[in-house]
Amino acid sequence: MNNILDIRNISLNYRNKIILSDVSCEVKRGEFFVIIGPNGAGKTSLLKILAGLQKAQQGSVLIKGKNISAYTRRSLSKTMAIVPQQIEIGFPFSVTETVIMGRTPHLGILGMESEKDFAIAQEAMAFTEVTHLAERKLFQLSGGELQRVIIARAICQQPDIILLDEPTTALDPAHQLKIMDLMEKFRREHGTTIIMVSHDLNLASMYSDRLLLLKEGRVVKTGTPKTVLHKKLLEESYGCEMEIDESPLGQVARVTPVPDKYKPL
């Protein structure tokens, strides 16, 4: 079986408001999969359901062919890591302490890390280029550094799937590319499946294998960036005018939202 993730007819309501309605899709092993859609489309809720942090009222999620409810919290955490949108930095843990927390699902009852766990953490920190920050406290880091630390923590879990919730939103273009390049490189080297929620349609276009476009809790379209980043679909979903052409990089679509002042009268 080629699908690492099968999402079947998922629905979620909260106080009579539809959050997700009959969402189905599958993600292949080793795929770079990006979920896009306007604010309030249900992207983060979908991600939380995939991570087992929230239960869908209807439908099922199969991870490696096994229903998510059949996993213990611990075994699920060995399969899947999440890089959340908001990161708690109020408590003065150092970068090393934070990264090695990713070893939690692999540790024994007293929670003491072995040399091997430290080696894995070192390797993860080297990969995301935060080794020089090892002794810093989280609140002393810049946005880009913090994001790379949290990604190192996710890598430390040695999961088959990494979920990221808008990891590039607060970053400048260079740091955005850095994060995306890191994820792409990690996927290439380890075959890890990457599932990302993003508002940046151009990053999604450049990096993803396939896109899922959500609107008001429903799937508008799933497919390659070329097929999903379609003028009509995007305009209807986001509710603003969009121009789509080929990026100067070639082979990828470029999306330009059109501001009022550039619209013909």
Binding site: L53, R74, F93, G111, E135, Q157
Partner: protein, 335 residues
Amino acid sequence: MNMPIGRKILLTSLLLSIVLMVSSILAISAGSSGLHFWETLAILAGKGEPDSATATIIWQIRLPRVILAASVGGTLALGGLVFQALLRNPLAEPYILGISGGSAIGAIMAMLIGLSYFPGVAIFSFTGSLLVLGFVTLLAGSTLGNTMLGRDSLLLGGVMMNAFCAAVIMFLISMTRSFQVQHILYWLMGDLSALQKGQLPILLLVLPCFAVIYVLARPMNLLLLGRETASAMGINVKNTVLLLLVITSLMVSVIVSLSGLIGFVGLVIPHIFRLILGPDHRLLVPSCILGGASYMIFCDLLARVLPSSGEMPVGIITALIGAPLFIILLLRRNT
């Protein structure tokens, strides 16, 4: 300094154990008749005359009292540490969810119907705190299951519980004749003098609680990062939080039923160690137990020897020393 965590825990615990030993012997040797350090050591070591008046005082009065002070200090400091982590609130202390209010109502009612300090008041007080704990557990169960509820609902529920209990306490006091009021006030301020030697084995109940909390020290680290993050890293958040809540409340209830409401230890000791040692609970749990115990023994010693006659409530000393100490540490940290 980058020592492996295991060695750091051992070293810190060893150091604090020495502090605990020294302060215990000091407290046992000091009394109204002055300080007899070496004589006390000899008696504790089994030498000297076993039937002398000093030996009787040491074995029957001072040693039990020091053991009680150590248990109270260790339990309250650990309780504060756990609640600060669970509620992710620096102002949390072991009484914050209303345990204190429940036990105070129980204790006051027992005093009003004229029961003795032990077992009457202790049992009533323990029952009172169990009732509150039951309510808080129900509340926690329903708020934890619902991720959409704010993370502070448990805290707010507890604060309301406390406010309600405070009103009942005020009502009970207002209905009380004056000679009983002093008893009640002493209980509310915390009192280590009422314990009899025979009641000491009850204190053993807190030891298994310490062990469970130590095992949950690493999950507590993750809870600091938020419930979802802890979940995502393999922690069963609901079970962990409920277990910590119940275990901690139980041991605090046991302690409160024997000693009354000794304040401030549970708030300040965890903060002091967090400032010195950082946020890792695997280090903080043993440190708070040992450090809280030493601190309480020391404060109780002062409460006994400072006044020229009688003694003052130890809760006054804990805050008088702890508050300035904490502020000094905070200022030094910031410069």
